[in-house]
Amino acid sequence: MATHDTDVQISICGSAGDGTIAAGDLLKQAMAHAGYRVIAFNTYPAEIRGFGKCIARTRISTEQVYSMKPRSDVLISLNDAHAIPHVGEVRDYGSVIYESAPITRLAEGQHISGHVRPGQLPYGLPLRELSERATGSNRSRNMVALGFLAGLYAMPREVFHAAIKAKFKTKPKAVSEATIAAFEAGLEVGAQTHRFDLVELGEPPESLPGNVQILSGNAAVAKGCIEGGLDNYFGYPITPATTIMERLAHDLPVHGKRMLQTEDEIAAISGAVGAGFAGARAATATSGPGLALMGEMLGLGVMAEVPCVIFVSQRGGPSTGLPTKTEQSDLNIAVHGGAGDAKRIVLAPTNVEGCWRCAGKAFEMAEAYQTPVIVLLDLYLSNRFESVNFDPDENFNLSIPRGKPKHRPGESFRRYQVTDSGVSPRSVPGEADGLHPATGLEHDEFGHPSYEADVHTAMSKKRHDKLNKALKHPAITISKRFGDTGKVDVGILAWGSTFGEGLEAMMLARKEGIRCAAMKVVMLSPLPEAEISAFMDDCDEVLVPELNFEGQFANLVSGTLGRPLHRLNEVTGHPMSVSAILDQVRALAAHNARNAA
């Protein structure tokens, strides 16, 4: 096969319980180990194993990319009712793979073959029967379909076998054997099927240096936690953050650390604050509703200047909202939420590698600046997978100096001493010469309650100023500009997962001859005002795309800097489409050109 660049996106669509996500998972694992760059994103419903729609999309490419393609090359249907509305997302001369032998009689239009577009190529096979033949049960239809895919496109079977064995290594051997049997049954059919579609999978690229891993955002967070020296974790299950706890439940004990599943979010953050006070690196993870519950205890953390880290993976809100859909609407509560002037550090990574880095750095910052740190993800980022190559030599700082307890003889320890930097010396229980009370009441330098006007003023200032040091924190990107340098027609200012789409849109715009740049802002609090201003100076028009209704980031920027910008807001529950951003950029560029003329 002639080696050419690969950029193939495969969608697997089924009902919860069909093993849709599992199949997608094996596909990306296998492809990443074959050497391709992979990005993948799953959507699934709240129902346990009920009847909701699941889609696993996997983009396999030669070069690493940060967003999904608007159109897939292959669609596998494990449930026609769910898949039929998605047939249109397959490109011309792409393929649609489906169950050719349903067991129920179907009314007109109920079978997907009736919806395949003239330009697309249909591939039917008896998934259910092949599964039953291979394993005696119909549960492995997904594996048969996966095998068919592998056979059809001559993907190397070994990497799939390896991925399957790895996935089921804790289960009895029979499980992985049955799974492989089903996979092979599909592969055999696929290999014998004459392929008419024009989807081409090139040779895998040279594998990257360093150690390549395929991780979800949440997995990267867990990895960052472990490498960032996390000692104690407290958590309560909530979609889409649960998998962070599930991973740590395994990884922490392995590293001799502790994890506790508490009875609710309130107890979770309480534990984290307590452990942080006692000198441990402590964290919890939750989503919007949980963060709302944690508000008060978060305030105590700020007030008592206790280091702890809260990972927040956003989902659709408000209230229970859209638990399984993505959104970026918790920026306000993350940055401002809680009682009083409770300033805290908020980091928002833009890709999976960033999830890892921000997690590790969050612990450094929490200790360095004695404050709760919120790391703000969203469902799209938490659940999406990317292949990342980690530099084995890069380490996080595990021992941040707490500052010498210095005090005159006979005087007690000034835990909240006002210093030039704003950061006070800190002691933890068990240390001599560091005795002090911690409290949620306003307090003086010793930690004693005090409601004096000047004390509250000074302490408030100190609690705010110390955080500005974070803007210069080493080895982390606070903000970064991409694309054209100097003056540009349009600048895209983006945060979180949406930056990926922004970046692709920017590159496409430049291909169209629009002068365009994009800036990602990773630290949302405190806000890197200087960098953002400089960027806006260079842009004739600034566009802020984000997945919320109010334009929370746009509000933050324009509110802080008092400068005009354009908003692009979507609350579809799905990632923003590259084309939507591109359209806006085109419009702004044109409008701008008219003004110039």
Partner: protein, 343 residues
């Protein structure tokens, strides 16, 4: 306004597609569904020999681009063999158990290569050329300059033979009463035609009954044919060309009368309400020969499709064929068959 009629066409070949075009022209509102067992849009089988003349992708063989079907609102349901037709409920059952209602139905499933019962055991050792896929498989099996043994040798076969010779391969035709099918060449005439074939560079083996076909011995061509008379023949590919047998098994419950094909009247209407037939599948009543007979060839088939469509739209058009297409030898001594011509 009344709900538009649903015209369903079983068969994605010349007849079916010709009919679809006419239907759309005469009934802009109607629903049109073409049902096909294959995976591809309509391509021209007459162009298949071009896979030896450099055609690399099936896309180049497509008669209409995908947009054509979108534009004309013609649904093409591929990979959907029909397993049953219930003419009382006017419902089709597709292999995947989906039921499809039709108001008017056109059968245009064409035929499949006919294979005499006695040769069926050897089927695994033979290649066909009826579909793009079969063509590609056959091409892959044939080495450069390799030899093809054509059993029978109907006009489609001979057309392929021309392409093979032209591209430096060798062809042996093992004659049979069906050689030159569907033309009828009587025994006195035959020798002349065999000579003409040989002038085309084709080896003619007028040997009588095939005794058996087996894998060729190591180092020899892939197939070894031995004849009842004891003679034998080595070839890389063996292909049966005994003409076409209509494809009508799924019609057994349709109530439409059948013999070898679907029996239809001059308007191509079957004995069953709302069912018409066109192309190689239709056995048409011929007042002249007082029997039900078949008409073959690109032009006949297309005309059948168009005629059937007009009648389905409520007109009353007789299918007329210009007198039977005849095979002849031109002054240059070359065989001329009207079935080799198509547009």
């Amino acid at each position: 306004m009344s709900t538009p009629l649903h015209y369903v066409i079983i068969g994605n070949g010349m007849a079916g597609n010709a009919a679809a075009a006419v239907l759309r022209e005469h009934d802009p509102e109607c629903r049109i569904t073409i049902i096909s067992a294959g995976a591809l849009l309509f391509y021209n089988r007459y162009d298949l020999p071009n896979v030896f003349r450099g055609t690399e992708s099936w896309v180049d063989l497509l008669v209409h681009p995908p947009e054509y079907y979108e534009r004309n609102r013609i649904t093409v349901r591929r990979k959907s063999p029909v397993i049953d037709v219930d003419s009382k409920r006017q419902v089709l059952v597709l292999a995947h158990r989906e039921e499809l209602h039709y108001d008017r139905l056109l059968l245009a499933t064409g035929g499949e290569p006919y294979l005499p019962e006695k040769l069926k055991d050897s089927r695994p050792l033979m290649h066909n050329f009826g579909t793009y896929r079969a063509a590609m498989t056959m091409r892959a099996a044939l080495p450069d300059g390799g030899r093809v043994a054509m059993l029978g040798g109907d006009v489609m076969g001979l057309d392929l033979a021309r392409a093979l010779i032209e591209t430096g391969h060798q062809v042996s035709v093992v004659t049979d009463e069906r050689t030159f099918w569907p033309h009828e060449v009587d025994d006195q005439e035959r020798p002349r035609y065999y000579e003409a074939l040989e002038r085309m560079g084709i080896e003619v083996r007028d040997q009588g009954e095939v005794d058996r076909i087996v894998e060729g011995a190591a180092g020899m061509p892939a197939r070894h044919i031995t004849f009842a008379c004891g003679e034998d023949l080595y070839a890389d590919v063996v292909m049966p060309f005994f003409g076409i047998a209509p494809n009508v098994d799924f019609m057994s419950n349709s109530g439409a009368d059948m013999e070898r094909g679907i029996l239809v009247d001059g308007h191509l209407k079957s004995s069953s309400e709302n069912i018409w037939a066109a192309g190689d599948v239709s056995q048409i009543w011929s007042p002249k020969s007082k029997s039900y007979r078949f008409y073959y060839g690109y032009r006949n088939v297309r005309r059948m499709g168009e005629t059937a469509a007009l009648n389905m739209c409520g007109e009353a058009v007789e299918f007329d064929t210009n007198d039977d297409d005849v095979i002849e030898i031109d002054e240059a001594g070359r065989i001329q068959s009207p079935f080799w011509e198509h547009d």
